[in-house]
Amino acid sequence: MRELLSLMLGAILVENFVLAKFLGICPFLGVSKKLDTALGMSGAVIFVMTVASAFTWAVNNFILVRYELEYLQTIAFILVIAALVQFIETVLKKLAPSLYKSLGIYLPLITTNCAVLGVAILNVQRGYNFGEAVLYSFGAGLGFTLALVLFAGVRERLEHCDIPESLKGMPITLIAASLVSLAFFGFQGLFQ
């Protein structure tokens, strides 16, 4: 139990996917301008990460390892993730139209998001069993949410600041992101 908890907390704080591993920076910078878009994106990412890692774990263990085709991981995982996201979008459109309206547009964005692929590959590399893999991915999604929501807050504050002309826009955003990332490095060594 304690190990599972430390696994999740590790994924959220110490090894935050965006701020410590630098995966999924594209949506991080792209969608974090406003808080509500950030929340919508995060919801979609949590869902996709958890479900995708479950499927990829199954594909890896029952097909790839069995036939000694580990080198096909990247292709197979991308295939699984893309198909899964498409399936989720179709189902969501039919069964939950209001949910589809709020986060449906983000689903294609995260199809080839390296954070989703990253979590799938990390599960394999660390040899997690099914439960650990799903939990770790859920934690990774939560960590992504935390980073996105925090940064959305930072960016909304930045809007009212007096920024030098040459730094306006992307430069100051990247500087702010690196400072937030530095802050998260303070969590290193949380679990000894």
């Binding site: 295939l79 699984v80 198909a83 179709t90 189902v91 039919k94």
Partner: protein
């Protein structure tokens, strides 16, 4: 064999997923009335919500479902109303275009200030401080909330006074909601003479504050041949339904004696109202 197996496996996975997706798209198909997308295409797409729906998508759905009138989009105007009516197979009702008009002539040149304001350039914020920096508590503050709210760039701020560019105004009414003094009104586009003042102060006070304010003398009311002007609380108001644009009121308004700027009447040739 070494090459064949992975090819088969990846190919097989792809096929399975392909079939799965095809099946899902059939089973979870959402029936969309194709008229909705046709109507949506004609709409201006400004998502201004002047029609009363939450946006152009919602309006398209409402029209096809039967809840909204085909001429419900004021921004699209008569042109869009006709096209929508054709798609729906109905005839559209007659469309009366309206434009926004700022009921104030108190630019920084004409109206005095109560105090010097230094703070957030926002009319609503300034209005909280004793009604705004303008000496007239009813007048335009001129910090541009209306201009920012306008999705079509039809409002400009000149000398601390908001002006609507009638040719750009589509009648979406977003500025009406944005003004904290509530001095922007929608008037029919054919209406040319308007009392450009919203002050209920007595004539003496108005004179002190602003050169072009309505002092409530009542000359316009007496001289109007169509009884289109009413005086309420020291403020004259022209009823656009009765006004025939004859201009007699403009000739007798006294506050024009002080400045060349006419009180209550716009220059017929000017585009900005």
């Amino acid at each position: 064999m070494q090459i064949l197996l992975p090819v088969l496996i990846i190919g097989g996975l792809g096929l399975i997923f392909g079939f799965g997706l095809a099946y899902a798209s059939k089973k979870f198909e959402v029936k969309v009335d194709e008229r909705v997308s046709r109507v949506r295409e004609i709409l201006p797409g400004a998502n201004c919500a002047a029609c009363g729906q939450t946006g152009c998508d919602a309006f398209a759905e409402a029209v096809v479902a039967g809840g909204a009138e085909v001429n419900g989009c004021p921004v699209g105007g008569a042109e869009v109303a006709e096209k929508v009516a054709k798609i729906m197979g109905k005839s559209s009702k007659k469309f009366e275009a309206r434009v926004a008009r700022v009921m104030c002539g108190g630019s920084s040149k004409k109206c005095r200030s109560k105090y010097s304001y230094s703070g957030i350039e926002d009319c609503a914020a300034a209005a909280n401080l004793f009604g705004g920096p303008s000496a007239c508590a009813y007048g335009c503050i001129g910090m541009g909330n209306c201009a920012r709210a306008c999705p079509f760039g039809a409002i400009v701020i000149e000398d601390g006074l908001a002006k609507v560019i009638a040719t750009k105004c589509t009648g979406c009414t977003k500025c009406v909601a944005a003004c904290p003094k509530k001095i922007i009104e929608m008037v029919p586009i054919s209406n040319e003479y308007t009392v450009r003042c919203s002050s209920f102060d007595s004539g003496k006070v108005v004179r002190q504050n602003c050169d072009v304010g309505c002092i409530g003398c009542g000359r316009c009311v007496k001289v109007c041949p169509h009884n289109a002007i009413k005086m309420e609380n020291n403020l004259a108001k022209i009823d656009p339904a009765l006004c025939q644009n004859c201009g007699e009121c403009a000739k007798v308004c006294p506050t024009k004696a002080i400045e060349l700027f006419l009180c209550g009447v716009q220059n017929k040739e000017s585009v900005a109202v």
